[in-house]
């Protein structure tokens, strides 16, 4: 079980982690500024195993891989949105952060709700109801299962 942090549509990568923090040498130094402009308390309140739930086009904007990386570093278990921007989606899978498309979840949940995710079944359970998610293409699920692109490449060797 993890807690939901809910966001709206078109959350851009500047809102996830602003440009001025990208020059910090490590993700750990950046992560405390995650969602600073939308929810300054996010980094303090989020716990490992929690979820980010959003509406359409999550992660639009720049190619910065720091955006999924700070979420993963804070222990976010998965981002579940109605749709994702392309570069964010690829980056998330490559670093091993599950990004899951679920069309019906957003309207029916609130920040603070407790949720359970079953990746294998492609189902989330929250407030006594189940919601079906879109499964990843096998190629991408493979990268994710191995813990991201680095692990996957090392395995190929």
């Amino acid at each position: 079980m993890g807690k939901i942090f809910k966001f709206q549509q078109d959350v851009d990568t500047d809102q996830i982690i602003a440009s001025q923090y990208l020059l910090f040498p490590t993700i750990d130094e950046m992560k405390i500024y995650t969602f600073e402009s939308l929810d300054p308390e996010f980094a303090k309140n989020v716990k490992p195993g929690d979820f980010v739930v959003a509406s359409e086009n999550f992660g639009c904007g720049s190619s910065r891989e720091q955006a999924p990386s700070v979420l993963k570093a804070l222990g976010v278990k998965a981002v579940i949105a109605k749709s994702f921007a392309r570069i964010f989606y690829r980056n998330a899978i490559n670093i091993g952060l599950p990004v899951i498309i679920c069309k019906d979840l957003h309207e029916n949940v609130n920040s603070g709700d407790e949720m359970e995710l079953s990746m294998e079944e492609g189902i989330v359970k929250v407030n006594g109801k189940e919601y079906e998610c879109t499964k990843l293409p096998a190629y991408m699920q493979g990268i994710l299962d191995q813990g991201g692109l680095i692990a996957s490449l090392n395995k190929e060797d």
């Binding site: 086009n57 392309r86 690829r90």
Partner: protein, 414 residues
């Protein structure tokens, strides 16, 4: 059944017919890394256990976001970059020549039909010469540096037909902003845009560049123009039949077709704080402004500076306005000096800065504070992009931006 441009590029690269939705591995023709992400690319590359680049000549490193350094920490990125270049025998490095997306085509690194990836979302720009180019993260870049390959999902294509003659005060920027407004910020996500029609055929490569540059603002994976004689001249090459064939076939399958008449376009702006929040300039007239920025990989080319100079000739900008002009490359800077454009801009009161990303990435060159309003020719107006999150950013064409600088408020260019 016919093919779209992107399907042909992927087919030519992989040697097999493809359809949208196929996941294929492509051979990468060129990659671009910029100064912000080089430290991360370098460390991931070594973490992956690679000891050499797949082809050092195909890798280009460009310092642009941090040039010249505005904070002490910025110099670490140059140090890491220089060490990487030295260690892995790279030749293609630009330390102060201009913005990455301008240099990739201007310096001849990208040719029609190429497949190119860059660590920047505006890598879609190279579609202006008929190349499939897209932005990726640093982990994926590190993987390409070692392997020379990348997996992609073949995208569906949205066809955009534009026919007729543009009104005099309308630029390519107004067209692409209007299209983004119509599609929405995610209207082209995972898809290719393909531009056609006599309006785009009559456009310069520079104008096409403004359009392909901004395709990502509708979520697009790439944005393609058919290579023609202008492309050939710009790329300093002769087109072969293979490159001439990079045209959407009549019986190709499109997921969506948009048709526009050039005569219907009017000057527009993207209003705070989403690029798809597009309104006619006429509806915004009278809003007082503090600053104007003309530059970036979207609109820092010679024709953009000349369009601004035409508006500003023998005029003074409003006394309370700061006008910042940033040429997209050293080559453009020199050309604009030679033909008198820089002198006209400076005489009107403009601050001319060194070619770089400058204000567009909000680190240097005119950052703003709470309550200030800027009209800018770059590609993003997200909250906090050019200073504090209480700055209002309006995106416009160079002509509109120049007219606003003179008026001190938002006005339609005449």
């Amino acid at each position: 059944m016919g093919s779209t441009i992107i399907e042909k590029i992927v087919r030519n690269n992989t040697g097999k017919e493809v359809k949208p939705g196929d996941i294929v591995t492509v051979n990468v023709d060129r990659v671009m890394i910029h100064d912000i992400f080089i430290p991360f690319v370098a460390s991931k590359f070594e973490e992956m256990g690679f000891t050499k680049l797949w082809d050092p000549d195909k890798v280009v490193l460009i310092y642009d976001h941090l040039v010249p350094a505005s904070q002490v920490d910025d110099t670490r990125h140059f140090k890491v970059g220089n060490e990487f270049v030295e260690k892995y025998g790279m030749k293609n490095i630009h330390r102060a020549d201009g913005i990455c997306h301008q240099l990739m085509t201007e310096a001849g690194y990208v040719k029609p039909g190429n497949i190119v990836f860059g660590t920047d979302s505006h890598t879609t720009t190279y579609g202006c010469v008929g190349a499939f180019s897209s932005g990726i993260g640093y982990t994926e870049m590190a993987s390409i540096l070692g392997t020379g390959t990348m997996w992609i999902r073949v995208p569906e294509t949205i066809r955009v037909n534009i026919t007729g003659k543009l009104p005099k005060n309308v630029m390519a920027k107004d067209i692409i902003l209007k299209i983004i407004g119509d599609l929405g910020a995610d209207g082209a996500t995972y898809k290719a845009l393909e531009f056609a029609g006599d309006t785009v055929e009559n456009m310069s490569v520079a104008s096409r560049m403004s359009m392909s540059n901004m395709a990502i603002e509708a979520g697009a994976k790439c944005a393609l123009f058919t290579p023609d004689e202008k492309t050939a001249q710009y790329c300093e090459m002769e087109l072969t039949d293979r490159e001439r064939d990079l045209v959407g076939d009549k019986d190709a399958v499109y997921c969506q077709v948009l048709n526009y008449k050039a005569e219907d376009f009017v000057p527009v702006m993207a209003c705070p704080s989403n690029v798809d929040n597009v309104k006619p300039v006429a509806a915004l007239e009278g809003k007082k402004i503090d600053q104007v920025f003309i530059g970036s990989c979207t609109n820092g080319r010679l024709e953009d500076l000349m369009a601004a100079a035409e508006v500003l000739k023998d005029k003074q900008i409003a006394p309370f306005v700061k006008l910042i002009v940033t040429p997209a490359s050293r080559k453009i800077y020199l050309e604009a000096m030679k033909n008198g454009t820089i002198a006209t801009l400076a005489a009107s009161g403009a601050i001319i800065t060194h070619p770089s990303c400058g204000l567009c990435c909000g680190r240097t060159g005119g950052i703003l504070t709470d309550g200030e309003v800027v009209v800018a020719t770059n590609n993003r107006n997200f909250l906090g992009r050019m200073g504090t999150s209480k700055v209002e950013i309006f995106l416009a064409s160079p002509k509109s931006a120049a007219a606003c600088a003179v008026a001190g408020k938002i006005v339609v260019p005449k």
